[in-house]
Each structure stands twice: as C-alpha cells, then as structure tokens.
C-alpha cells in the first residue's frame, strides 16, 4: 500500500491531478447538479479499484490515510478538475462516525459496504422545526424489543430518494433536562414500509432535497452508534474537520471564472463600472484564498481548527452570491432567462449559478448562526 504522506506535496498533487485528468469521464466534469448513483457508478468503480474512495479514512479501513496537508491537496485537485464528489455522505459522515464511535462489528459490516457503495447513505439531521436550532429535533426513536421504532419527519435530506440508508439524529429521551441531551445517532434502512420520501422542488426546479417521513419505521438496536442519548456531542465532533471545506474558495473561484468568460464574451468586461465591481469580486476571492491558506497551514501543522474557521464560510458564500449577481447584471436583457446562455465558445448558465449561490448562506449553519458563534466563541462578546 502506498504511503501517500511520505510523498512531497508537489509529487502527490501531480499524481492526483494526473489521475483525475486522465481517468475522470469528461461528460461528468463540472456537473451542474448532484448525480444519482447510477449516473456516476462507472466512475465510482474506477475510484474503488484505485482505492481512492475514502481519502481521509485510515488505511486499515480501506482509506488512503491522508494527513491534513495531503487531504487538502486531494480535495483541491478534485474541485479544480470539476470531479464530482459522488454520493459521499457515507464516506464523509457515516464512515468517520463509525470509525470513531462504532463497535468492531459495526466497522466490519458497514465500512466495506460504504466503500463499494453497496449502501448509499443520506443524512437525516434537519427537521421542519429544527433548522438553525438543530437541537430542537423531535423525531422519536423508542426501543421495542430488538428494534428502535422511529416516528417523525426529517427535511432537507439531500438525495434521500436515491439512498438505501439514512444516518440520523433522533430523540431517544424526551424527558432529558436539556434539549441537547437525549439525542442519539441511529443508522436505518430506507427500504421499508414505514419510510416515505418526497422530493422538494427548489426555486431552480431541482429536486435534490427531500422530506423523509417515518411512521413506525424500524431499525435493529445494534444500529445505534455510540452511547444512547450521546448523539449530540458526536455530531458536533464530526463537523470540526468539515468546517474548512464549507469555506473553501472553489465555488467562488469557479463562479468567478465563469463570470469572466461570460463578461468578456458579452462586452461587459470592457465597461469600467463593471470592471470595478469585477475587480472587487476577484480580489475578494483572491484574498479569501489567502485566509483559507492560513487555516489550511494550521491543519497541515497538525493543529485543530478553532471556531474562527467559520469566517471562511461567511466570506466566501457571500462573495459567491455577489459574483452570481454580477453574472445576472452582465447578462443584461437575458438576465431572467433559464438555461445556458451562449457567448462565443462558452456557454454559461447564469441563472443556475445565481440559484446555486442562494442557499449557501443558509445551509451548513446559516451565516447568521456562524456570526453568533464567532461573536461568542472568538470575540468573547457577552450574552
């Protein structure tokens, strides 16, 4: 097995780049939507054969065992190449959870199935009354013999209609004194009569999000991960490494590139007023990348990231939105038109970018919540 961490950063980047460059199917590059598994299955097989499905997992569980520095390079190259992350909830969320908190039996059973995509996972966190205030969740799981019986509703469950399993936070002790207590982590099969999935249509007409209804759905007791009623702190622990990725420059960088080609094609790029606004956006992205690099260096030095990493997400998502708003402006009379707009050799779907940018300031902890966190945890401002 290759010890990737022993390679120089440059060598490793080259290797990753080359693989994505030559092996990734062209027709899947920079996919504008989240694919169903069937659409990317052939790519997944390739990745699986290569052993690259789970870059962050330890090698003993079939991962690449990358350290933070290498992991960042891996993701950077993935994003740069427009390589779809695939149906990676299992790899990103369930795997690390099981590796950290699961029993040996759980590891042996679930981890290989995640790598092979025999199971396709979705994440059941949010509920209609539990968005920013996630701890307010009400979906109940009660022990009944060897099973948990689940009742309630999840929402914003990405791609639940194409998943075989759900990992979810459920309330197992409704009488706990604080709402953060009494929450547990459960794995459950989707393919059963008590589970009903309905897609949600978004503004842009996409149907990636779902509602999932549980009506006496069942899952074996052995599908509890970690201790009963301790799910909240486990969920929070999972998020810590994730937080730098949600603040990564890539979405904004890609949008900026699109804006530039589009504006050049449209002539807006020659207009001084547009140029000033473009320069602002471009510098916002470039300077964000400098801050991102500072946090990435922290990770590379083996330090853990503090709450201040949230500032990356605030900045980059709002910047992303401004960039897509500039696209609309540059489109002039076509600014309300659905679908790709052709300019010269490039075709840019202005409206799709605009829509895509909208929820980024809402999901992953809304920017308002992030500001609350920074205000308390970083600036130490009082209640």
């Amino acid at each position: 097995m290759t010890d990737w961490n022993a390679m120089s950063d440059a060598e490793f980047r080259k290797e990753v780049h080359q693989f994505f460059e030559t092996e990734y199917p062209e027709e899947l590059r920079h996919l504008p939507h989240r694919p169903k598994f069937a659409e990317i299955e052939h790519w997944h097989r390739k990745l699986h054969t290569k052993g690259w499905v789970a870059p962050a997992w330890p090698a003993e569980y079939g991962g690449m065992g990358l350290n933070a520095a290498k992991l960042l390079i891996f993701y950077e190259e993935q994003q740069r190449g427009g390589v779809n992350r695939g149906r990676d909830m299992g790899v990103q969320m369930v795997g690390p959870l099981i590796i950290k908190f699961g029993t040996q039996k759980q590891k042996d059973y679930w981890l290989p199935r995640i790598l092979s995509c025999e199971d396709i996972w979705c994440q059941g966190y949010s509920e209609p009354g539990a968005g920013s205030d996630l701890a307010n969740l009400r979906t109940r799981a009660e022990i009944d013999g060897d099973d948990f019986v689940i009742n309630g509703q999840k929402i914003w469950t990405t791609m639940a209609h194409d998943a075989s399993h759900i990992f979810m936070l459920v309330r197992t002790d409704p009488n706990a004194p604080k709402k953060q207590q009494g929450i547990s982590f459960l794995l459950a099969p989707m393919d059963q009569p008590g589970v009903d999935v309905r897609t949600i249509t978004t503004l842009s007409g996409e149907t990636e999000f779902c509602e999932v209804f549980f009506d006496n759905a069942r899952t074996p007791r052995e599908n509890l991960v970690g201790e009963l009623n301790k799910g909240w702190s486990m969920a929070k622990a999972l998020l810590s490494f994730e937080r730098i990725f949600i603040g990564s420059p890539s979405l904004a960088q890609n949008a900026l590139g699109q804006l530039e080609s589009f504006a050049r094609g449209r002539g807006a790029y020659d207009d001084p007023v547009f140029r000033d606004r473009f320069a602002q956006a471009a510098l916002d992205v470039e300077d964000h990348a400098a801050l991102y690099a500072r946090f990435a260096d922290q990770l590379k030095r083996g330090e853990t990231l503090g709450a201040d990493v949230s500032m990356l997400k605030i900045w980059v998502t709002e910047c992303f939105q401004r960039i897509t708003e500039l696209m609309i402006e540059a489109a002039g009379p076509d600014g309300g038109t659905v679908g790709p707009l052709q300019v010269g050799n490039v075709s840019v779907d202005v409206l799709a970018s605009f829509y895509k940018a909208r929820p980024t300031t809402i999901y992953g902890g809304s920017n308002e919540i992030q500001r609350n966190i920074l205000s308390k945890a970083v600036l130490g401002l009082p209640d």
């Binding site: 009354g129 920013s132 205030d133 309300g336 038109t337 809402i362």
Partner: protein, 369 residues
C-alpha cells in the same frame, strides 16, 4: 395630461386589489405557471371590464384618461399578485404606441376591451439595437429580418413591429399566425417567455412611418419603463409583507426569529428601502403626467426603474435569506417573487444601466442640485 387626484387613485387601488384577490392572488400565478406558463384570458376580460388596459388612454379614444399615476397604481397591484397577464406591456407599450400613432385604429378598441393582445417587437440583437439601426426591414407589405427580447410573444394575437421602411422607421402590425413568421421562445425565471422573432416575407400592415414612429416609441418606452418600476414596487411590497409575516411566526430557539435584533434591523432596512422606492416611483409617475419634454420624461423613468430594481433585488434576495431553507423551495410563494423580480429587472434595463443614462441626461439638461 394631468395626474389623477389622490382619492381617485385610492379608489382605483382598492378596486384593482379586490379584483386580483378575488381571482386568487398570487396562487393564480402559480397555477398558471404550473399549467402552461401562459395567462388567463378570462382574467384579461375581467381586467378590461374594469377599464384597466385603457387607464392612460384619453377618454376621447375610449380610455379612462387617468394618466400614468393611475397606470402605476394598476402596475403595483399586478406586481403584488405577480399576475402574468401583459398589463404593463399593454398599457405602457402596445397602447402607448398605438394611442400616439394610430388612435383611430380598430386594434385600439380591441386592446382596451381585452379582445386582443399585441406584443411589441422593437429591439434587435447586435450593437445598439435601437430602431434607427433596425436590420429588420419592411417593404412591399412584407417583413424580413428578426427581432429579439419580445415580451409576451407566447400569448399574443399579433405583433407591433418597429422596422426599417423605405422612408425611415415604420410601425407595422402582423398576426401571430402570419406566414413566414417563426417565434423562438426562451423560458424566463418566472415561467413566462421571451420571444425571438424571425420574419421571412411575413405580410404586415403599415400603421405609421417616419420620425413620428421613433418619437412615439421613445415616449412609450419611457411610460412602460416607469410602469415596470411600479410593478416592481408592488412586487417588493408584497414580498416584504410575506417575509414579515414569516419572521413573526417562524420559531427557532423557542422564539420567533423576528425577535432577534439582527433580523429586526434587516427587516427595517428592507422596509425603508421599500418606502423610498414607493415614494420615488409614485412621485415620478405623477411628474411624468405633468411633464411634456420627452427627454425629461425619459430621465424620470430611468430614475424610477433604477430605484425599483435596486429595491426589488435587495428585498427579494434578502427575503429568501430571511425565510431560510424554505425560501429556497418552490413551495413557498416568496420564490415566485424572486423569480418575477429577476425578469422585471432584466426587462428594459437594470439599475446600473438606468443610473448611467439618468446621470447623462441630468448632465445634458444641466440639472444640478
């Protein structure tokens, strides 16, 4: 033309609002979008019955003769329920052209009565796109060439086309079913469509020619631009109401989110932006009714559109954020308002564009503070 007095406008607003609400408010817009993306001919009849289309047409020509200020009242109400019917288009552009060039033409009455709708094809792709540079030609009773960005192309019975004729620009009329006419439709964010028209020897009736066409077009564009601004104000007004209701009721952390100071101040800023936009657009419409110099009317219209677009963009986008995840779904009405704002902002020039021509015009006139 004199502006109607405040009491007349109040009554007009009330009756228009009642009419639209009875017809189903914004729910009607959603149904129409989901059905076909078109508009409702019964509704067009009802609107005509209420005198809506002829609101700015002089009484002598079969209208109500109430002026643009009254047209703005109608446009605001259209905006509030995001009605897909071509109300602003008809009042401002189709009738705006006809009443200036051919008040005698039978289409006038049909438009006012809601028996027909006519889209106006005046722009072309390519540099400039102004009528003087028209590459779409009219000769020997036939049209050849193409026109772009035709609003209402999908549902109209015919087109008023500004083309290059033998003696300067002409305004001609062609039927939607005419030979040699093809309409390429591009779907817009709100489900409506923009038409790209191609004519190859399409028969058309000449209605007017010469510089009068250009003058009337410029005037009609000023009118429709200011009315589109009013539609955006109405839209913003309702989008804000919806959002305000939502933040009063949606709870997180055991409190309505509207109790958080950050949300409150943001709501205040949207409210202030809305009030400024409303005051601006209503003032502009009243002033346009008293103003006869075309360039000044154009400058006023630019002022209105610049403000209304700025406000509507800000209000509808912030409204999505204030709704949180549900704002991003098609289930909540707020998204319909965002989409309609996108379309109305792009139509006839956005805020950046209109600020520029406003300042140029102000300078040319020597208007200073």
């Amino acid at each position: 033309m004199l502006s109607s007095d405040q009491e007349d406008l109040r009554l007009l607003r009330e009756s228009a609002r009642t009419l639209f609400e009875r017809a189903g408010g914004s729910g009607r817009a959603r149904k129409l979008r989901d059905a076909s993306g078109g508009w409702d001919s019964d509704m067009i009849g009802e609107l005509a019955g209420a005198g809506v289309f002829g609101v700015t047409v002089p009484e002598a020509n079969g209208g109500l003769g109430m002026g643009l200020a009254a047209g703005g009242v109608i446009a605001e109400e259209v905006g509030r329920v995001i009605a897909p019917e071509p109300v602003v288009l008809t009042i401002g552009l189709s009738l705006g052209l006809l009443r200036r060039l051919r008040p005698d033409h039978p289409k006038m009455e049909q438009l006012i009565n809601g028996e027909t709708t006519l889209a106006v094809a005046w722009q072309e792709r390519g540099p400039g796109g102004a009528p003087a540079d028209a590459t779409c030609r009219y000769a020997d009773g036939k049209l050849t060439g193409s026109k772009a960005w035709v609003v209402g192309a999908a549902g109209s019975h015919g087109f008023l086309v500004v083309a290059g004729g033998q003696n300067g620009p002409v305004l001609v009329l062609t039927e939607a079913t005419a030979d040699g006419l093809s309409v390429d439709k591009r779907v817009q964010a709100d489900g409506s469509s923009l038409g790209e028209l191609s004519f190859s020897g399409t028969p058309a009736e000449q209605l007017a020619e010469g510089s009068a066409v250009q003058d009337a077009l410029a005037e009609a564009i000023s009118d429709v631009t200011a009315l589109a601004a009013a539609e955006l104000v109405g839209l913003s007004d309702r989008a804000f109401e919806i959002t305000l209701d939502y933040i009063k009721t949606r709870e997180q952390f055991d409190k309505p989110i509207g109790s958080f100071q950050v949300i409150q101040h943001r709501a205040v800023d949207l409210n202030v932006m809305l009030e400024v936009a409303q005051a601006c657009v209503r003032e502009v419409l009243a002033q346009m009714d008293c103003e006869t110099v075309p360039k000044i009317r154009a400058r006023l219209a630019s002022r209105a559109k610049a403000r209304a677009v700025t406000a509507a963009k800000k209000i509808t986008r912030d409204a999505i954020q204030l709704h949180g995840a549900v704002g991003y779904t098609d289930e909540f009405d707020i998204g319909l308002y965002l989409n309609r704002a996108l379309v109305l902002s792009a139509w006839l020039g956005d805020d950046v564009y209109h600020r520029r021509i406003w300042l140029d015009a102000r300078e040319e006139e020597g208007v200073a503070q």
